[in-house]
């Protein structure tokens, strides 16, 4: 036993938390991880499909930048994802795990659509837009407010609560479609798109959406970094006790932040119905409420970085669809590629926060 104890056993490597890493090094790590993701995807493509990966990546760019129309649509979808991501960010910064963005967006969609169906024809078109926008903001805010109130006063688990609210919102949409007969009761529940109450065309269908979200991005950046409320959010996120000690009313901050979070989700719902789809279904939000969590997290809750992360995700989504189409592969293949890329992007965060120390050889002097 004793002679074993004298030998110093050390694992081949161990993981150490980094103290701080300069921003440029962090970005080099991220760039390398994306590069490696591209390499792995290429190998997977060769092995599984026997296709030339250069052509495959060419198809990816074609899918995202192929025509002017596609580029506009790419930026529209980036904007919509970014909008939801901006919405969840203040709550996350506060460490309030709002997984209910999907439902909050859907409530915005439902409110927009219902307003147009019920008021359409009785008020002027600009007024109709304003009312439906207001309805969407309120609906989203209310859907955010409910779990916030329960959290603030009864300490309910906000993750589960907000998740469940998603299903309630989906159910409400199905119920409304059937109850109000927006579509044949015995039909497929696909509601025909609205002809009125649509966002005005400025240059094309997408510019208004893109500009609106650009404004929201700017607003959120300033709100989080340069306002008293933004500061309060950071403090509550760091430690509720500290916040209480320095006289911040945590309940108020939680409720106020979730109202803002929900309202911006409601806005995203308004843009989806009034700007993009013109119709409503339980799938209108298309998972953006969940993808947004990743966008926000990867960008470290920084609204400007979020532009980059949402661009990346939407780019790969568009590109992998085109790969599927050009090479007649099935949808699963594009999901494999997107999965690999996301895996590497998330993995890079590990290497930014931690470093791997190899077992020191006696020769190595450091």
């Amino acid at each position: 036993m004793s002679n074993i104890a004298t030998k110093k056993h050390e694992p081949l490597f161990h993981i150490v938390k980094r103290n701080a890493i300069p921003w440029w090094k962090a970005w080099i790590v991220r760039a390398i991880s994306i590069l490696l993701a591209v390499v792995v995807c290429s190998f997977v493509t060769i092995l599984l499909t026997k296709q030339n990966p250069v052509l495959v990546w060419g198809a990816m760019f074609k899918g995202a930048f192929g025509t002017e129309r596609i580029v506009w649509r790419l930026f529209r979808d980036i904007s919509l994802l970014l909008c939801v991501s901006l919405a969840v960010t203040p709550a996350f910064k506060m460490r309030f795990w709002n997984c209910g963005a999907e439902g909050q967006v859907l409530m915005g969609c439902l409110a927009t659509f219902a307003t147009v169906r019920f008021l359409g024809g009785t008020v002027s078109e600009p007024l109709l837009l304003v009312i439906s926008l207001a309805a969407a903001l309120i609906a989203g805010a209310v859907w955010g407010l409910i779990p916030a109130v329960f959290y603030a006063f009864f300490k309910t688990n906000e993750t589960l609560f907000t998740l469940m609210m998603n299903y309630v919102a989906k159910g409400l949409i199905t119920l409304s479609i059937i109850y109000f007969q927006w579509e044949n009761t015995f039909g497929s529940q696909i509601v025909s798109p609205l002809r009125i109450g649509r966002l005005p065309k400025v240059y094309n269908d997408h510019l208004v959406i893109i500009l609106t979200v650009a404004l929201i991005t700017l607003f959120m950046y300033i709100y989080l970094n340069y306002t008293k409320q933004g500061y309060e959010i950071s403090v509550v996120g760091e430690s509720e006790n500290t916040a209480n000690y320095i006289g911040i009313n945590v309940k108020n901050v939680v409720i106020r932040t979730m109202l803002i979070s929900g309202a911006i989700c409601g806005l995203a719902g308004f843009l989806l119905v009034s700007g993009k789809d013109g119709t409503v279904s339980p799938d209108t939000a298309d998972g953006r409420g969940f993808t947004a969590i990743m966008v926000s997290w990867l960008a470290k809750f920084n609204p400007i970085y979020m532009i980059i992360t949402s661009f990346l995700l939407v780019f790969f989504q568009f590109g992998s669809k085109e790969i599927t189409r050009s090479f007649r592969l099935n949808d699963d293949f594009s999901e494999i590629l997107t999965g690999i890329v996301i895996f590497f992007i998330i993995g890079s965060e590990f290497f930014i926060n931690y470093q791997i120390k190899m077992r020191k050889l006696t020769k190595e002097g450091k």
């Binding site: 390499v39 290429s42 030339n52 052509l55 074609k62 497929s188 119709t279 799938d283 099935n330």
Partner: protein, 411 residues
């Protein structure tokens, strides 16, 4: 810093590796505009197909297979036949159609019912492009020269498949497995609307034409494609005493539940014999190849595509897959062939009003159906005459949505 340099080097190495691999695998994948001066492509037609799911859905697979078959038959290249899968029933369908037009397509086809309003928008804005839509209902009232619907008289195929089911029930009764009164059929349906109702009613009438004591229970899943729900629905029906199960939903859920429980299954969309060798009897399906050929050659020749086309047994649109003789009752093929001949002669009608009742009485000639789609969903067309319900004659998509006696809806 050194570490970063070495990391960069590794990345660079890996990249070079990939590209050397590329050099090895120079398969001639289709370049962008390669189809232009291809000798085979004498006419430069480009067709775009929009599919709801990929080939993992039996519904879409049936369309995709037909499209590939027609592409090969007409000698078109992959550049001339562009297929887009996984397009939801929303504005994505419109976007997909516009993209296909940007790529030079002059004929666009979409396969799902819910694609219709979005495809219609694209058709309105692009009068020079032809649009064909399967299972839709709006072409005959839309007033657009370039928008067309198509379907098939699949209720006749269902009736024939129903005969196979009835024969099997008779065989099991004769074997003493259960009494004639216990001959319960289970049916897993997607949504409670005409396409499904017309389907299970014709299937039931086919079964009852040979097994008069048969009854049926229907369980809806509320989804066209949900393997877990379809499996569960089939198990519920089997638990309630169903002796045979059929389905109108697009996953393998119901057939595989039957295989596990050892309950005979009449399938849809195509054969399931590989996964279910011990329970699969027969399957009815629509073969879309005749329609695809019709629409493509019409555009090539500059002739009109019918506004609302309904293919039948004669056109080759309604097909039955091979009978699984290991499971089916003796004499099934002969019985099906006899009925098929009668359909082609026009002497047999699936919805003959003397074969079924509604609330104890037969349908009269005042019976209305919602043939023309409008905002209020009212039935406006008289559909019963000459002793039968005229399904798919006033419009290709089914409109028979009546609950007949003998069929119980569970949900």
């Amino acid at each position: 810093m050194k570490k970063f340099l070495s990391l960069l080097l590794v990345a660079a190495l890996a990249l070079t590796l990939t590209f050397s691999f590329v050099a090895c695998s120079n398969e001639t994948a289709n370049g962008d505009e390669a189809g232009e001066n291809n000798a085979e492509a004498t006419n430069d037609i480009k067709v775009g197909f929009i599919f709801l799911h990929d080939e993992n859905s039996t519904y879409d697979k049936n369309f995709i297979d037909a499209a590939v078959a027609v592409q090969n038959k007409l000698g078109l290249t992959n550049d001339q036949v562009i297929m887009v899968t996984g397009i939801p029933e929303g504005s994505e369908c419109y976007d997909a159609a516009i993209d296909l037009i940007d790529q030079g397509c002059t004929l666009i086809f979409a396969d799902s019912f819910g694609h219709e309003p979005f495809l219609l928008d694209a058709a309105r804005e692009n009068p020079d492009v032809q649009f064909c839509h399967a299972t839709g209902t709006m072409a005959h009232t839309a007033g657009l020269a370039n928008f067309h619907n198509a379907f098939a008289s699949i209720y006749e195929g269902r009736f024939l498949a129903g005969i196979a089911a009835g024969m099997k029930l008779n065989e099991m009764i004769a074997n003493g497995d259960f009494t004639a009164e216990e001959a319960l059929i289970g049916y897993v349906g997607a949504h409670p609307y005409a396409e499904v109702k017309s389907g299970y009613t014709s299937f039931f009438l086919g079964a009852r034409s040979v097994c008069p004591t048969a009854t049926m229970e229907v369980q809806f899943t509320g989804s066209w494609y949900d393997e877990a729900l379809e499996r569960e629905a089939a198990n519920v029906l089997i638990g309630r005493g169903a002796k045979l199960v059929s389905q109108h939903a697009d996953s393998m859920g119901a057939p595989s539940a039957c295989e596990e429980a050892g309950i005979p299954n009449v399938s849809y969309n195509g054969t399931t014999i590989e996964a279910c060798p011990n329970t699969y009897i027969i399957s009815s399906r629509i073969d879309w190849a005749p329609y695809f050929e019709l629409m493509i050659t019409a555009v090539q020749n500059g002739t009109e595509i019918p506004t609302d086309w309904c293919g039948g047994i004669k056109e080759g649109s309604v097909k039955l897959t091979d009978l699984n003789t290991a499971v089916a009752a003796a004499g099934t093929q002969e019985a099906i062939d006899a009925a098929k001949a009668q359909f082609e002669e026009g002497t047999l009608k699936v919805f003959a009003t003397d074969t079924f009742t509604v609330g104890g009485v037969a349908l009269d000639e005042e019976t209305l159906a919602d043939v023309d789609t409008d905002d209020t969903w009212t039935a406006e067309t008289k559909v019963v005459s000459e002793g039968y319900y005229h399904e798919s004659e006033f419009r290709s998509a089914p409109y028979f949505d009546i609950n007949i006696d003998g069929i119980t809806l569970l949900n």
